[in-house]
Structure formats: structure tokens, C-alpha cells
């Protein structure tokens, strides 16, 4: 779960604080776990929700809508990402602006759809889509930059 927190936090200390807060909630509400799903999934939801409460809502304002139509990732070979270790991938995510980072984490890794993300964050679905596209584009440019340095 520490990795989950690190994907949402700005630095290691913040990630540890988030994990601490999340596990306090887990212990406090353990009796409410109804064994309907996996314990890991239940804990992960608590961790993610704790992380989301720590996020500045202003990260999702002042978005330019319509950027999703400009998706173009054809220039980067997906195999390039496979050469990066988990630590490098986490660093890439950490370099994203907060709004991009949250939406990318929720959509790409946690598996939420845009409607769920919009409800979780209290934003428009279009905002979520826009943030995701920008996040991907930024990750792509960062990977290309790493690739160029390696070459």
C-alpha cells in the first residue's frame, strides 16, 4: 500500500503520512468489513480515498477542454516503457502535476472509469478525460526525453 500512497503523494514523507492515516481508518473500521470482497481491495479503497482527501481541489480547475482529440502516441514504442523499472515509472508519475497524476492513477492503474473519477473528485467527466490525455502526453514526452538521454 505504500506504493499506492507514493503514486498520489508529492514525496516519501507525505506517502508515509497518508499510509498512517489510512491504516488508522482501517483499524477503526475493521468491524465494518463485511467479507464481501477481498480485504486487500477494501484496504486499497480506503488508502486511495485517504489520498484523495489530501488533494487540493484547485488542481482540477482551469482545464482546457477538448485536448483529448489531439491524442497521438504513435511515435513512442510501448516497448520503451518495458525497459523502465518500477522505481523509474513511479518517478515519472511523481513528476506529473497533481491533477494529471490523480486522474492517471485512478484511471490507468486503479481501473476507475471517468464517471467514477468525476464523482470521486467532484469534477466534470470532461475534466477527467482532459487530465488523462494530458497526463499520457506528458509521460510520453518524459519517456522520450529519457530515451534520448540513453541514446
Amino acid at each position: 500500500m505504500l506504493v499506492v500512497c507514493m503514486r498520489y503523494a508529492r514525496h516519501q514523507m507525505e506517502a508515509e503520512d497518508l499510509l498512517q492515516d489510512a491504516f488508522i481508518k482501517v483499524f477503526d473500521h475493521l468491524a465494518q468489513f463485511q467479507n464481501k470482497g477481498s480485504l486487500e481491495g477494501w484496504i486499497r479503497r480506503i488508502v486511495v480515498n485517504t489520498a484523495l482527501k489530501n488533494i487540493d481541489r484547485k488542481s482540477f480547475t482551469h482545464e482546457q477542454y477538448g485536448m483529448e482529440i489531439r491524442e497521438d502516441f504513435s511515435s513512442t514504442d510501448p516497448g520503451v516503457y518495458a525497459q523502465l523499472g518500477e522505481a523509474e515509472l513511479l518517478k515519472l508519475i511523481a513528476q506529473l502535476p497533481e491533477g494529471y497524476k490523480v486522474v492517471f492513477n485512478l484511471y490507468a492503474i486503479e481501473g476507475y472509469n471517468h464517471a467514477e473519477i468525476a464523482e470521486l473528485l467532484g469534477v466534470q467527466e470532461s475534466t477527467s478525460r482532459s487530465q488523462l490525455v494530458k497526463a499520457r502526453k506528458m509521460l510520453q514526452s518524459m519517456v522520450e526525453h529519457l530515451q534520448s538521454i540513453a541514446v
Binding site: 500500500m1 505504500l2 506504493v3 507514493m6 503514486r7 508515509e16 499510509l19 498512517q20 491504516f23 488508522i24 483499524f27 477503526d28 482527501k53 487540493d56 502516441f73 510501448p78 516503457y81 518495458a82 523502465l84 518500477e86 515509472l89 513511479l90 508519475i93 492517471f104 484511471y107 490507468a108 492503474i109 481501473g111 499520457r136 509521460l139 510520453q140
Partner: protein, 455 residues
């Protein structure tokens, strides 16, 4: 079917189940925080139990005062008035076989306990008036309370009656003398002196018919059939000192103040920002209290107090109002002086036991990023203010004037100081509040006495 984006797929595959071992100190912190939370929860429960118990006791006591019979209706320690019937019957029987005038007499003298002791060997106080011999129960001139007082004195053999009982009965003391008693009514002049002598009690009650006076002729006490006293009677010093009970209701204005102090030098900027942004307002409070006032003027007061105040905050171009409410149980001691004509003046001091402190609003976050909510009822709000504040010091003076025989208007200026911070110790700022105010209310005399010892 949606096809996942290759970048999303890569990140999910590599990170979704990737784990790192959290540092051990994190578990220690979680454990410590859990234990602290559990301790706080236990303290909260304990506090609730104690508060509920105190409240129940308070309400029970108040209810008892309200519904219990008056002390002139409840006289557990005194023998019944039948005692005198027995005595009178015996006297009638003796009259038939004894020449008139040889019967013994009961005598009541106007004297304090010391005076009674001095007079005991040879009390020769002259009665002011005498009732004819006969069935004293049929003599309407002798008030019932007077009979009971005499009955009590005969049974217990005490030399001195309590002041309250004496006032109610119209006599001041009784003195035994080898089986011979003369009951003498306090004349009107003496009664006035008695009233003056007991002025330390807030409101003396002497409501007996004037001009009645009796001499009761009866047999010697040893001829009477004594009723057994309660087993605990010998354990109690036979000293009647009634505490008058009053119900009080107040409402008033509070003039509030506060001090903010940074708990560390790095929070000084934050303290200054809050100091400039927030403006504490005047508030109001209301009180419901019961007071017990002794014949010497000492007072014990308790009840419940509700207070509320507000802060106006101007921050980042916005303005809003924060609200704070508290519920306290006052526990006060006082002294009351009524030698100011019809007025009484009292001084009170004690503590307020805080039962609850609720907050609602927002203040500047410690990282200076903007407003953050601290409301006590909102989950996950910023935990700055405590929910119970412990003890506060309270002092007041009160002036009362009569509206009716049982009702007085009271004006009570007061000061209140909370010696400890109203914020948690781990919050950046130590905040202490104080207030002074003036409350106006009414004091209703409840027609009850409480006795801590009774013969």
C-alpha cells in the same frame, strides 16, 4: 469493447501489484496513534459516565427538593403530637387526684443555647401570657407548629430548639427543669429581636399569630411514654441548621477575549495571520442553578450553564462567522449578606466543569494555504479545538431585590477564566479564552429546607 491504451497498460501491469516494505517506524507511529485514540475514547466514555451521574444526582436532588414535603410537614425525628395528648390525659388524671397548682409546668424561655445553659439551674423567666389548663389540642390559640416544637423538645430532652423551628413555632428555646416545663410564647417585641438576630438567613419566616401564648400543665416527662428514636439519631449531633433552597434562572451578555500564542517560533507568522484575520465577538450565556443558603449566609450553588459566542473572520477577500458553544456545570460557594435593607449582596467563587465545547467554522490552515474547516461535527475536519475544556475559574458578585415574598430579581456580574488552552497540544497555537459579563435573572424560593443534621 474498449481497448486499453498502451501507456495505461504498461503502468498498470508494472505498478498495480508492485509493493514496497513500509519502514518499521511507520507501524510504531500507527500503534502509538491507535493507543492514543483508544485512551481518548476511554476518557470520553468515562467523562460521559461521570457527567451523566453528576447530572442525574443533580436532577434527583432538585426533584427531591421540589416534591419532598416541607420541613414543617416532615419531622421524622420528633414524636407525634399524640405525645402531648398522652401527657394531657395523664395531667387530667392527676388533676382529679392532686390539688390544683401542684401539677408541673413546661417552661419555654427566650434564650440562645448558651443562655439556656446559664439559666438551666434556675430559669425563672416569666411567661407573657398563659393559656388555661385543659386539652391543648383543642386550644386553637396555640399554633400547630408550636405544639410540634414542644413535643420534639419533650421527647429529645434537649435544652435548645433550632432557630428555624423556634421561629415557625413562635418560641425561641425550651428549657428542661426536673420534669417541670413552662411554655412561654415569645412576645411581639422579643419576636422582633429574634427576627433581627436571624437576619443572616436570607428570608426569615415568622408567620405565627401574634398575641397567643400558652402555659401547658402536664405531668413530669418521666411519666410520659417515650417513643423510640431512630437508631441513627445518637450518631447525629442534635443541631438543626436548615439550608434554604432556591431555584435560579439567568441570562446575560458575555464580553469575550482571547490570547493566541505560537507553540513554536516557526508558527509565529501563522499566529499573526490568525490574529489579524479573526475578530472575537461578544456572546451570551444562560444559567439554571439551584442554591442552598445556610442560616449563616453561606451558599452552595450548582446547575447547568450554556454559553455561545462567535468570531468574524476576514481572509483572502472573504468574510464568514465561526461559532463556538459550551455547556458547563458550575460548582460555586458563596456568602450572602442581607443587611442592606431589602437587598441582598453575595459573593461567589468556584469552578465550572466543562461538559462540551462545540465549534463550527473555518480558520486559516497552519500551512497558510487558505481556510480549512475545524467544525467539531464534521468528520475529518482539522482537529484544532478540544471538545472538552476541563475546569474554568468563576467569580461573581450578585445583588438581589425582592419582587414578591418568594421571588427576587438578581443581577450578577461575573468573570470567567479558562486556565488551559482550548486547542489541542499538537496544534500550532495555544489559545486561551476568558470572558466577563453580567447576567440578570430571577431567584425563586423553593419552600424547602435541607438539614445536614437533625435531632
Amino acid at each position: 469493447m474498449n481497448q486499453r491504451h498502451p501507456i495505461d497498460q504498461v503502468f498498470q501491469d508494472r505498478l498495480q501489484h508492485h509493493e514496497l516494505e513500509p519502514p518499521m517506524h511507520l507501524f510504531d507511529k500507527i500503534d502509538a496513534q491507535r493507543q492514543a485514540a483508544q485512551g481518548q475514547e476511554q476518557r470520553k466514555k468515562r467523562w460521559i459516565y461521570w457527567s451523566a451521574t453528576a447530572l442525574l444526582l443533580l436532577l434527583g436532588t432538585a426533584l427531591w427538593f421540589w416534591v419532598a414535603p416541607n420541613d414543617d410537614q416532615l419531622d421524622l425525628f420528633s414524636p407525634s403530637i399524640e405525645h402531648l395528648v398522652v401527657a394531657e390525659k395523664a395531667q387530667k388524671s392527676a388533676d382529679q387526684s392532686t390539688p390544683a397548682g401542684s401539677a408541673t409546668e413546661h417552661q419555654v424561655v427566650s434564650a440562645t443555647s448558651d443562655q439556656a445553659s446559664r439559666n438551666a439551674p434556675s430559669a425563672q423567666n416569666e411567661p407573657v401570657a398563659r393559656l388555661p389548663k385543659g386539652d391543648i389540642l383543642q386550644n386553637k390559640a396555640l399554633p400547630e407548629a408550636q405544639l410540634r416544637t414542644v413535643s420534639s423538645a419533650l421527647n429529645t430532652g434537649q435544652n435548645t430548639l433550632d432557630v428555624d423551628g423556634a421561629k415557625l413555632a413562635g418560641v425561641e428555646s425550651i428549657k428542661t427543669e426536673a420534669g417541670s416545663f413552662t411554655i412561654t410564647e415569645v412576645p411581639s417585641q422579643t419576636q422582633n429581636l429574634a427576627t433581627e438576630a436571624s437576619e443572616t438567613q436570607t428570608e426569615a419566616e415568622i408567620n405565627r399569630p401574634l398575641g397567643t401564648w400558652a402555659t401547658i400543665t402536664t405531668k413530669a416527662p418521666q411519666a410520659l411514654e417515650m417513643q423510640p428514636l431512630p437508631v441513627f439519631a445518637p450518631l447525629i449531633k442534635p443541631k438543626q441548621r436548615g439550608w434554604r433552597v432556591y431555584g435560579e434562572g439567568f441570562a446575560g451578555f458575555d464580553f469575550n477575549g482571547r490570547s493566541l500564542e505560537a507553540r513554536a517560533p516557526e508558527f509565529e507568522t501563522y499566529r499573526e495571520a490568525r490574529q489579524n484575520a479573526e475578530n472575537i465577538q461578544d456572546g451570551f450565556s444562560s444559567n439554571l442553578r439551584f442554591s442552598m443558603i445556610s442560616i449563616d449566609g453561606f451558599a452552595v450553588r450548582s446547575g447547568i450553564r450554556y454559553a455561545a459566542y462567535a468570531e468574524v473572520v476576514q481572509l483572502q477577500g472573504k468574510e464568514w462567522t465561526n461559532r463556538f458553544r459550551s455547556v458547563d456545570i458550575p460548582m460555586l460557594l458563596g456568602y450572602e449578606n442581607n443587611r442592606i435593607g431589602q437587598l441582598t449582596l453575595s459573593a461567589n467563587a468556584g469552578v465550572l466543569l466543562n461538559m462540551a465545547f462545540n465549534q463550527e467554522g473555518q480558520f486559516l490552515a497552519p500551512d497558510l494555504s487558505g481556510p480549512v474547516e475545524f467544525s467539531s461535527k464534521t468528520p475529518d475536519s482539522y482537529p484544532a479545538y478540544r471538545n472538552r475544556l476541563g475546569l474554568a475559574y468563576y467569580g461573581s458578585v450578585a445583588l438581589s431585590a425582592p419582587l414578591s415574598p418568594t421571588l427576587r430579581v438578581v443581577i450578577e456580574p461575573y468573570i470567567l477564566r479558562r486556565p488551559s488552552s482550548i486547542t489541542y497540544a499538537d496544534y500550532a497555537i495555544d489559545q486561551r479564552n476568558w470572558n466577563q459579563g453580567i447576567q440578570i435573572g430571577i431567584r425563586k424560593k423553593i419552600n424547602k429546607y435541607i438539614y445536614f443534621a437533625k435531632p
